[in-house]
Each structure stands twice: as C-alpha cells, then as structure tokens.
Symmetry: none
Subunit: 192 residues, 2 copies
Amino acid sequence: MSPSSITPSRWCPTPEQVMILEEIYRNGLKTPNATQIQHITSHLSFYGKIEGKNVFYWFQNHKARDRQKLRRKLYKQLQQHHFFMKRQRFDDDHDHHHFFQYFLPHHDPQLLPQLPSPSSLQRELGEEEAATEVEGGGGRRWLGGDDGTTVAEEDGETTCGNGSLRTLELFPVRGSWVKEEEGTSGNGGWGN
Amino acid sequence: MSPSSITPSRWCPTPEQVMILEEIYRNGLKTPNATQIQHITSHLSFYGKIEGKNVFYWFQNHKARDRQKLRRKLYKQLQQHHFFMKRQRFDDDHDHHHFFQYFLPHHDPQLLPQLPSPSSLQRELGEEEAATEVEGGGGRRWLGGDDGTTVAEEDGETTCGNGSLRTLELFPVRGSWVKEEEGTSGNGGWGN
DNA sequence: GCAAATTAATGATTTATTCAAG
DNA sequence: CTTGAATAAATCATTAATTTGC
C-alpha cells in the first residue's frame, strides 16, 4: 500500500541484477565470500541500488530454496518407487526410429503411495508466473511402450492424419493435477 | 511395405491435443511424471494417435521454449535500457544497524580461475541484432571495448543515466560465463 | 493459382549440469 | 572422488508456413 514514491522497505532487484545473480549462481558460485560479495555488489550497483547485504541474502535464500526444491523433487520420486529407464534403438529396420522406452517397476504406478495428497502436489506445481524454472514432477518414463513400432497403421493422409476431431473437453485426470478451483484464479494461489 | 502409407517420422498433434496440453500446462503442470503422462496420453489418444513419449517431449519442449521466450524478452528489455531505476534513497544505505558479517568459511578469496568470457546476455543480443541487422552496412558498435562502461550513443533516456549495457561482463566467478540462450540454427554471430 | 524454394515452428535426441549417495 | 538419477540446455531433424517465380 505504500505509495510508489516512498522508500522501498527492502531491496528491489532490477531484472538485470536478478539475471546476473542467477547467472553467477548457475555458474557455480553458491556461497560467495566477502570479497566476492563486494565485487558482485559493486558491479551490480551499476544497474541499480544495491548493498552487500542484499547480495549476501540473495545467495543465502537462493541456495536454500534451491535445496528445498530439489529435496521435494527427490522425495516425490522416491515415492514413485524405483524406476528403471532403458533406451533402445531400432535403426536397423526401414525406419530410423530411435526411441526411448521407460518402464516402471512391478508396482502399479497408478496408486501413488502415501504421497502428499495429489491436490497439494499439483498445488506445488501451481502456475508459475515468472519463468523461474519451477518444476515439480518426478520422473518420466514411457509406459507400455511395448513394441514401440506402433507408429504405423496410417490412413491415407499424406500429412498428419488427424482426422478424428471430436468435442474438445477438458477431462479431469483423476483430479490429481487439474485444479479443482480451476478457472477464476488466474494466478493460482500456489504456495511454494 | 505399402508405399502409400508413409510413416510419419514424428507425431503431429491435433489441434485438440495441443489445446488440451496447453491448458494443462497453463494450469501448472510443467513436468508430468510417469503416471500423469500415462493419463494424459490415454485421454489424448481419443483425439488422435499419440504416445507417452510425445507427451513427455511436448512438455519438455514447451517448458524450455517458454522459459527461453521469457528470458529473451527480459534480455531485450534489458538492452533497450528500458528499465527504471528503483527508487533511490540515500539515508539508510551504507551502514545501517544490520551489522552482519559475510562470515563465510574462508574459502579462498580469489581462487577463481579467470575467465573473460562475454556474458550470455551479449550473445543473446548479438544474435538478435544480427538477425535483424543483416550485415548490410552497420558496424558493430558493441565490439569496441570490453570494459563495459562504454556508454553508448543511445537517445537521451534521462532516467537514471544508467545506460549502457552492451558488454555485460562480470568478473570471473568460476567456470565459464559463456553459456545460455539461443542459437537458432542460424549459425549467425558467434557460435557456441 | 500452383509448386519449388525458403523460412519459421516444433518434435525428437544428445549433451552438460546438478545434487546427493556410496 | 566417483557414480546414479533426473533434468534442462543445446542441438538435430522434419513438418508447416511463407515467399517467390512462373
């Protein structure tokens, strides 16, 4: 509610600053020391007001959230049991159809174990306004890829044979990842 | 064996499938796991031929290109100096009561290998510019100095005189600064 | 109007990072 | 220090759009 003309109560990084910080972070600097912080600060001050403590906190927070994110991901993937992924190639035949085939263990993937309720999971996956690489899901592997060569059986279409156009309906896939309150909340009150 | 049935070398999604996928994506599912891919696939197969890997790839690509798009936008707005400086205050800036030290395990101040790479931003912009400015007659203005303070010849944006952002070159932090973004097979400017 | 030629989109693969476990 | 697991980035490849000459 504070008018835009007053002092910001806290540091407002400019896009450039954020970008550069992320770049630095991605390049491997997770915990800058004092010298590095000074250096970064002086460089970033070119793009806007910034202090050393901002840089320091930024790295602290970023690292923490990164770990949190990864931990959650790992946790999720552990609940899906242990998958194996195998990739096979079939370029010997007429078609060079390299394709992957992932398959699940003996367990039924359908029933997610004691996973945090799917709804909450999808809430975690909630819409991301920025491109801040939020992502959630666990593993990806093809299910029932079977012979793999199921790409045949054409119709007469030379291009893409997509003749079957029916009604377009959004289906709830078990309601696990479709927002239940879908629709009005454009922003989606996801909690990360 | 049938010459008439040309096997499509790749999946061609129907409009319905694309629409549904986008809806799902917009709803927050960025990286579906195996189960979700399964569900999506089976439901989408109603509208046309589709496999799990198609769904998987779709999400991967969509997410990546979404991110790419946003990043590009940011870069563009960055290079256009079209940013406002945050409100500046000069009172409680430098030394406040937040006495905190950058207490970090002296991890070696400057063991960072020097690496004078141009920043990724520049590469991005370079590509953009190169794409529009075909080597017709212009000169490379940004190739001048690598100091970064080459305040350029832009119009008078008298916001905060922050200006030039041509060579966003930071100090060596670790690893390479060359990374990131784009390279649309154009093979235009600098390669990767 | 139409195809060949060219360009833009996008599906599919490969390569590099990343964190953490062993 | 090495390895496993899982991407995300980069890249390759093919389809659709479009441009262009006739």
